[in-house]
């Protein structure tokens, strides 16, 4: 056994251990901390699997925004947690849940075992056409050219999720500011960090987006970092979340999918089909779409975490 394979087994064991602990933890807060840790460790595994693009997403979402979202949820659940902990579901419910879980696990396992070997893949086709767009990162090629439809619809899904969160607001607060108005000592430690870090984060976020054309990175990873910086400023109480009825905000929210769709429709006229880029302009078109998507993703993720409107204007 080589050192490297021993290492891989150790890594897998640690991750499995943390995952088991997360499931077994009885307290929501403890489970959330376990899950954040699990996400950070998963970034290591993705790097080991040579999927650095995915590792970047895992580091940004798992280590950053996901933790914020889940800790917020755990804090809200804490009030109801004590009464639910004392409740004991009936034997029928418990047996039913166990059977259901076992069935899902068995179905997944069967699916994995029944996969043809070698698995059907489009990777050689994607690699053979890698130079067609003028971009060096194969993942960006797949996302923005070969499977552009999926990527565009993903952004629409994000937008729908945001509309879903907003729709939880009571009618009289519709259009107001999302979430509570965060207050913190404007001269305290958190405010100090929120004044120092965002400029650095903006440079890093734009770099991660920009490097995505040739190296691991891209609009989603860069947009997540920018969203995190915005959220930090909001959590430190330095800036308030904008009203969801703000026109400028809504333009930013639809910019990414909107421009994507416009370029896609233009494909009928200047290209050969919907979402087909003319080869000569593929690179600038893709970069233009990605700039808009980075802004949209940053705004959408920031607002998703800020929550449903809870205050009317001026409150």
């Amino acid at each position: 056994m080589t050192v490297a394979s021993a290492l891989e087994m150790a890594l897998a064991a640690v991750v499995l251990g943390v995952a088991t602990w997360t499931i077994a933890a009885r307290e929501t807060f403890a489970a959330v901390v376990g899950f954040v840790t699990y996400g950070l460790l998963l970034a290591l595994i993705w790097v080991r699997l040579d999927a650095v693009d995915v590792a970047l997403v895992e580091a940004a979402i798992g280590g950053g925004l996901g933790g914020v979202l889940l800790l917020g949820a755990a804090a809200r659940l804490r009030v109801t947690e004590t009464p639910t902990a004392t409740e004991r579901p009936s034997a029928t419910v418990r047996v039913g849940a166990a059977l259901l879980s076992a069935a899902v696990a068995a179905a997944l396992a069967t699916g994995v075992i029944l996969l043809p070997d070698p698995a059907p893949t489009l990777a050689p086709a994607a690699a053979a056409n890698a130079t067609a767009t003028g971009l060096g990162n194969p993942v960006t090629n797949v996302l923005m050219a070969f499977r552009a439809m999926d990527t565009m619809l993903e952004k629409v899904v994000l937008l729908l999720a945001l509309v879903g969160v907003w729709s939880l607001a009571p009618d009289r607060l519709w259009g107001g500011h999302p979430g509570p108005r965060h207050r913190a000592d404007p001269l305290g430690t958190l405010a100090f960090l929120a004044r120092l870090l965002p400029p650095v984060g903006i440079v890093v976020g734009i770099y991660v987006f920009w490097t995505g054309k040739d190296h691991p990175g891209g609009a989603f990873q860069g947009g997540t970092i920018l969203a995190a910086m915005w959220l930090l400023v909001m959590m430190a109480g330095i800036a308030d979340a904008p009203q969801v009825s703000s026109r400028r905000l809504r333009i930013v929210l639809i910019a990414g999918p909107g421009i994507f769709l416009a370029v896609g429709l233009a494909g009928f006229a200047i290209g050969s089909a919907f979402l087909a880029y003319p080869v000569a302009y593929a690179k600038p078109l893709i970069l233009g779409i990605e700039v808009a998507m980075t802004l949209t993703i940053a705004a959408t993720l920031g607002l998703l975490l800020a929550g449903a409107p809870e205050r009317s204007a001026g409150q």
């Binding site: 403890a30 650095v52 580091a59 960090l193």
Partner: protein
């Protein structure tokens, strides 16, 4: 050199795993929160070593993202503690 770095990487991972046991047991919420800090610092070291061993330079970008966002879970934790207090203007 590769063998050496791989060995150290395994050692650091073992240290992280041991530290995690202590932290995940608590008892205080703050103890648990330190897990994010432990994996933040140790995970960055592990990532940088892994990136050198596997010769994937982009790994440094993952470490950079981790370093930039490692504070966020702890910030959310501190904010949460204050949000329940009647007067949330405390130093946080």
């Amino acid at each position: 050199m590769i063998e050496f770095m791989t060995t150290v990487l395994g050692f650091i991972l073992a240290m992280l795993a041991l530290g995690l046991v202590r932290i995940l047991r608590g008892p205080a919420d703050a103890d648990r929160m330190m897990a994010a800090q432990l994996i933040g610092t140790g995970g960055i070291a592990a990532l940088l070593l892994l990136g050198t061993v596997t010769a994937v330079p982009a790994t440094v970008d993952v470490a950079l993202t981790l370093a930039l966002l490692a504070t966020f879970a702890s910030i959310a934790f501190v904010k949460k503690g204050r949000a329940n207090a009647p007067d949330s203007t405390g130093d946080a």
